[in-house]
Symmetry: C2
Subunit: 921 residues, 2 copies
């Protein structure tokens, strides 16, 4: 188990050879551990030890290390033999420190038992308070405190908590609430009071009896009266809960190894419910929502632990404490400042005040929104708490997407939820929030959008024919498809809100209706999509652009300063200074290029020419080309396409200036461009002046069993080199025209897709270079350009050494490379990938996060062997993984020159690349 | 250029530092080279030199080496400067030897000029005879020979040949025959004679003038009169023809590097047409058709070179020579024996007798049929000419398929050809010959077959639903699909004749007709398929089983000895002694197993369970299982399937005895088992008692965009583990039942398909082992079994080290591995793979011959890393490549334990594996 060399507990353990040490004590001013011992003591234990070392007021206690958890499991649920003696010794010491004894009927020591893994983890047994109470000690507590009601309340809480979390007594069959809650309710109704505080000591005593009867009925055993039995039961429950289903599920989702284990913290009880000079609360050293530097939190007087979060009584804002208990407030404020300085990060604190005396029960790094994460990181640099590099490391790149997407008005969304309008949940495929009218077809979406209506395109799944409709819509909802389905890909690239694969939708395209959650919605009805959560909400929910987004695209600078925007800009600037990989964008159109530039893109890494084909006149010429019977006919059709394509590329080159633009030659199989239903076929036939039969035959002839593995990519260029020549001509003529008009130097990089052998590229390269020479001669202008290929087939990776002879760059097309390496079609994988994640076959969707072992190994081979052949070969990635932080880190380790991602992910990629560069230092 | 170190020419060249030697002379008893100099002198030149060294009567001459060819090309069509002087010197020497001079009007030296590459190669310029004749020397030849007609005939032939092959004068536009042939015809008609021999010296003189006028008209230049111009023209034509289209195409098809080049042989003319004591012929030292040891050949008296093969006069059998020219016969017979002994292989000889004197013009290893190849190799071992190992090396494994397939009666096939009944040619996907009635649908094929008719199933392409129809048919013809299409795969496995991908077929399934070569054929018409050549023949052609096949399957031993059968058996026995890899078969049914055992299979390497699913009741239960909504429903359907599957496996285990049987769990996507047309859906609904809508919805829900990359293979077993459990139960129960009944020890090897990660296999292995334990306990019997996986995805190969933790064997599924590594669906690749071979992107179809660079590299990684994890892991191959000799050689180099192939390829694999083992020694 790797641990910091500065670990005190570690050092001590190493010196005291045997027996193995499992228990580590702490009390104010001294502790057998520190914050660096998280692996051994868990997060909670390590921070308690640290606070003790800092001299802060922490109730004394001890921690059973995470190694006990492993030993407990290995021993099939029995504890290591050394443990009991060590616990006994620690308990004896605690008794001495507190001057009380465990199970002493006169002066009982009570403890809390809490789990604490390296990282906070829901799903595990959390907390048992007041442990040590029984029918004898409760009377001692009552006598000592002079508050019988307090004592019985503590006892009642203990039995309830213990019964619930240790003994696992849940609701009876058919009941919504557990038997303890029902009994409490019953008691309150009987006494005619609405709050617990209305119950007397006697009421509570009766309740304890009822509770114990419940325990007896449900467990067939009496409630354990012996405090040591209670203690060992609670310890075993914590360790056992490490492997309960919820905990395992959480670990799987969050990549936490099962071997880490949890620690158990046993701490002397202090009481916030000992009267009006006692209280308890939680606080953050900065505002976790906005990141603003202000002490932020809530507390309740005369309350214990869970009362604050349970929401039964309304807690007070933390600054109110100054008036209620000024000394405690002053001390707490001193401590929160000290802790933030000490930890150099925003802290989340728990405290209890027992009869005016403040105790710190926990401190940890506080969770925060994306907005807060950026602002805190940047402001802490200004405050010299951390370095720029630390600031970069601290912000989760994904958090940035929060800053850049429109959001639903929080109160409005809450109302929708209360009204039961959240219909279903799909994949959060395109973040942001969108409200619009349901439309089930592209044409009608375009028409309604023209009429000024916000529309949501709802489809079973989308295809390239829907591009116009997607563009016209504010959001896209599909019933099928995963995170990298067509809808998801295009939506993210367009920056559109998208919820994909909402399997509960039953769409009837003919009737123009859909049924979901038992409700039937028809075309034109209002719907809202939360692309950040995946929720589909009936009706309208008001949205607003985030402040950062609004400012980035503002035509003029606002005078009012925006801390969020300032922080974003600063973090991005620092990231750019640090990172070594370039960030490009996947963009097919000038407006996408413009957006990407605002987000900081340095070039285009993937311009898909086929998306352009679906617009206006172009699709007619494309179809004419496809239906051509001879090379001559095809060239005539291509001649019509040439000026249209050239105009497309001019727009892109103009937008990108002298930055590199990687353009991929035609990739999809030709049948994707032909209509499939009878009516459309007839229309097309009429338009082109040929028989419907001819077109139907062609559609039939072009049909493929596995289009993904069919006649596409460079295979089209090999069969029809005239297509490659037309595209090359359009590119080079456009580049020359823009160069002449703007004085910039467009840098086209022509990328040949789906290469599987060197000779394919050799042939296509020859076509491209021949056209380039012709155009340069004709235009009397010469521009630098590159010819390269995508590495998107396993064979291309395996033969990279050969292929590099003809390629000036490799761009890893990890979407297709993942499909072929796994043998999984991303269009069809949705049917079993969820099963695969469920069964822990995959850690996650391999189309979202690069599979290092398989796909990554091929990339490594290709990169290394490609460079052996051509040391200056440029390496990049243009698959969807180019926008995923973990995948970007892997790209850095491979030494890629750039990553390319959809425009809205450019900021995320910039930050992730900076983190990767720091990690590689 | 690597050459044998024993090369005399080589040794000499090395010693005479400069100038570089390009010309090598030979004459009876001495030569500047030998048979080991094929790389330098070409096959023809090397053998001429060898025969000279042996003291055989060879007309003197000299060879321009293959290095001239390379230099000629490198020089852009100009000769190395040293060449002319070397040719002059060789010519002068030849003149001295012959006592004649080149261009001497009184006593002219005439020569032949012939190309000669390392291996014989059609498509190149072949031969010019009588070179050196012109208007002056023809008269000298006439005077010296005393035969003016002979001289003018020689001149006429020379101008015609030279005009044709050197000057490239082909037919005029619109003409079928060339102008020389037409002029000759015209002359014969004018003189009223039917044969050339009817023309007089004067007629021939006139014809020469006509020929020269043709040359002038077509080339705009006079026919070269200067013999030296003639010579250099002919030499240039030979070297030029090395790179003509036909030669390049041939080289590409036969893997001959363009760098090899050709040599040119210039040999003094001897004349077989000098009267009735002269003649010319070709002969083989053994019968090239049957392999029988007898001197075999043909000759013509008073004839020159091409007359024997041209077929104008009917040649005589070689033994007739004994009576016509006994001395020459005796000499020839002595020489043929000597040459076969010397070369230790059957020789193909050319000879000329000039006025009773025998000259040897060529000798080379003779081409032979598969039958002859086997018999000659085996008999030469008996004769102690060669070793067993050499015999194994000498037979092309593919040649064995000739011995095992039914064949068309040769004369009947010739008649069909003459009658123009050969309609088209497809891929020779399943060798053999079949005649039957055309049927376009499986049901009708089954019905007609039951009625006792031989049927040919004709489909655009086949699918698993056609299995019954294929089984019922004697042959299969498809319009689409390649060498590894469904039709081809299944046909080869069944041993059925198959012509696949005959693209010219236009099939109208509704009308039950097909149109091909302008003819319309309807269901029930007779058709014949030559699966060995790919020809589709209208009407009936009679077939017969080969003798070897008939004997292998004969119920009782024939008393009449069959040399072919004896030779086959012996060669197989020797192969089995030598090879180190095991040979298994891909078989799904007991009869296939039985066939494979006759052919020598040692186990089953791939038993596809899904093929069984299409039979009788099984398909109903399968469909019920697919349509199940719950696990319980599915298990009910599976329970019905269990006894049926168990019976299938019992049949296979019974057939295979104690040999290993690898059974693959369910592989294809479930939608393959559902009907797709409306009527069938309605029928099924009725049968299962559910609504048609339910079934239609299920078909719709199961549809996949890329089924090859969809929910199939072990992914089904992960989603529906109950399917794997049912199959495992059927296998183990069947194995136990057979063990009890027969006393044999069935050895099931359960193979999980489409594994991409270790965890998949771990889960499926657990299911299989749990069932095995249950069955063994219940049956009170324990059998050895293995659990392993196919390696058929790139990721499986890349993660083999991991996967091997759970796999006791790997079987390379190179069909799918090729599909995913290349990103090519074998169902769709047919559209562009021909273009790819045309453009030399692929050497051949990667689905037929294993791609070593890509797929092979993955296999190498998987084999090596799999063995690192589990040193005793068993490695095999069960893709179609398992039956391809070149791929088998590669498997040997990887150290595989076995190869598995379709039953009819087992003998081929046995021989190929023996050759591979020898090569690896």
């Amino acid at each position: 188990m790797p641990r910091s060399t500065t670990s005190r507990a570690g050092a001590r353990r190493a010196s005291t050879k045997s027996p193995k040490r499992y228990v580590f004590a702490f009390s104010q001013g001294r502790a057998e551990g520190s914050k660096d011992d998280k692996n051994l003591l868990g997060g909670k234990g390590a921070n308690l030890a640290e606070m003790c070392q800092l001299g802060l007021p922490v109730p004394p206690g001890f921690t059973l290390s995470t190694e006990v958890c492993a030993a407990y499991e290995a021993g099939g649920g029995s504890f290591p033999k050394e443990l009991e003696a060590q616990v006994d010794a620690a308990l004896a010491k605690l008794e001495r420190q507190m001057g009380r004894r465990f199970g002493d009927a006169d002066n009982p020591l009570l403890v809390s038992v809490r789990s604490g893994a390296r990282v906070s983890m829901p799903g595990m047994m959390d907390t048992v308070l007041n442990l040590g109470l029984n029918d004898a000690t409760v009377r001692g507590l009552a006598a000592r405190s002079g508050q019988p009601r307090f004592a019985w309340d503590a006892y009642r809480r203990f039995v309830q908590m213990y019964g619930d979390v240790v003994l696992g007594i849940g609701p009876d069959p058919g009941e919504e609430f557990g038997p303890f809650a029902l009994a409490l309710d019953h008691a309150k109704r009987e006494r005619g009071v609405s709050e617990d505080t209305g119950l007397t000591a006697e009421d509570l005593e009766a309740l304890v009896r009822t509770y114990k009867a419940i325990v007896k009925r449900r467990t067939k055993r009496a409630f354990p009266e012996d405090p040591r039995d209670q203690l060992w039961g609670a310890i075993a429950a914590v360790f056992g809960s490490w492997n309960n289903e919820r905990a395992i599920a959480y670990r799987r989702m969050n990549d936490i190894p099962g071997t880490w284990g949890t620690a158990v913290n046993i701490v002397a009880m202090v009481f916030g419910n000992l009267g009006e000079t006692s209280g308890t609360g939680v606080a953050f050293t900065r505002d976790p929502a906005t990141g603003e530097k202000r002490f932020y939190g809530e507390f309740l007087m005369n309350a214990q632990g869970e009362d604050v979060v349970a929401g039964i009584r309304t807690p007070l804002s933390i600054d109110r404490l100054a008036r209620i208990l000024p000394a405690a407030w002053k001390e707490l404020n001193r401590i929160q400042k000290l802790l933030e300085q000490h930890y150099r990060d925003m802290q989340d604190l728990e405290f209890t005040i027992e009869d005016k005396k403040l105790y710190m029960l926990q401190c940890r790094v506080g969770k925060r929104t994306g907005f807060a994460a950026v602002r805190i990181a940047v402001e802490m640099v200004r405050e010299k708490l951390i370095t720029k590099e630390e600031a970069i490391r601290r912000v989760d790149p994904e958090a940035l997407s929060q800053l850049l997407q429109p959001i639903f008005d929080p109160s409005d969304r809450l109302r929708a939820k209360k009204e039961g309008r959240i219909l279903t949940k799909g994949l959060n495929a395109g973040p942001g929030a969108a409200t619009g009218r349901i439309v089930f077809a592209t044409d009608r979406a375009v028409a309604r959008a023209r009429a000024g209506e916000p529309v949501l395109l709802v489809r079973v799944e989308t295809s390239p024919e829907d591009i116009r409709g997607m563009k016209a819509s504010v959001g896209i909802l599909t019933a099928r498809g995963g995170m990298t389905s067509h809808a998801a890909l295009v939506a993210r690239q367009m920056g559109k809100v998208c919820v994909a694969g909402a399997g509960e939708l039953a769409i009837d395209h003919k009737a123009k209706t859909m049924i979901v959650a038992g409700r039937k919605l028809k075309e034109g009805d209002w719907l809202s999509l939360d692309g950040t959560s995946g929720e589909v909400i009936e009706g309208q929910v008001s949205t607003r652009p985030s402040e950062v987004l609004a400012r980035l695209f503002a035509k003029r600078k606002s005078k009012k300063p925006s801390p969020a925007h300032e922080a974003y800009k600063k973090l991005m600037r620092w990231s750019d200074e640090v990172r070594t990989m370039r960030i490009r964008t996947n963009a097919d159109q000038p407006d996408q290029c413009a957006t990407a530039l605002v987000f900081g893109a340095e070039g285009v890494g993937l311009c898909r020419t086929e998306h352009m084909f679906f617009e206006g006149q172009k699709i007619d010429a494309v179809r004419e080309m496809i239906l051509a019977d001879t090379v001559e006919e095809r060239e005539r059709a291509l001649a019509k396409l040439l000026p249209l394509q050239r105009k497309d590329f001019e727009g892109i080159f103009r937008a990108m200036g002298s930055r590199p633009v990687t353009i991929r030659t035609l990739d999809p199989p030709l049948h994707e461009f032909l209509p499939h239903d009878k009516k459309d076929l007839a229309t097309l036939a009429k338009q082109l002046g040929v028989s419907t039969k001819k077109i139907t035959d062609k559609v039939h002839a072009l049909a493929e069993l596995n289009p993904m593995l069919g006649h596409r990519g460079c295979r089209l260029g090999i069969t029809y080199p005239e297509i490659t020549r037309m595209q090359a001509r359009a590119i080079f003529e456009a580049a020359c025209n823009v160069a002449k008009k703007t004085g910039k130097k467009p840098r086209p990089e022509i990328m040949i897709p789906l290469i599987g052998s060197a000779r394919e590229l050799e042939l296509q390269e020859a076509e491209v270079r021949a056209v380039a020479e012709e155009v340069f001669r004709a235009k009397k202008l010469r521009l630098p350009y590159l010819v390269g290929t995508m590495i998107e087939l396993p064979r291309a990776a395996l033969l990279a050494a050969d292929i590099a002879r003809h390629a000036e760059f490799f761009s890893f097309g990890t979407n297709d490379l993942t499909q072929t390496t796994f043998g999984i079609s991303r269009d069809d994988g949705g049917k079993f990938i969820p099963d695969y994640i469920e069964h822990e076959i995959y850690d996650g969707d391999p189309f979202a996060r690069l599979d290092r072992a398989g796909v990554g190994r091929l990339m490594e081979i290709a990169g290394r062997e490609g460079r052996d052949t051509r040391p200056d070969i440029k390496l990049g990635i243009c698959g969807e993984h180019g926008g995923d932080p973990a995948s970007i880190a892997f790209c850095q380790s491979l030494g890629l020159d750039y990553v390319s991602c959809s425009p809205f992910r450019v900021p995320i990629a910039r930050l992730a690349a900076a983190q990767a560069a720091l990690a590689a230092r």
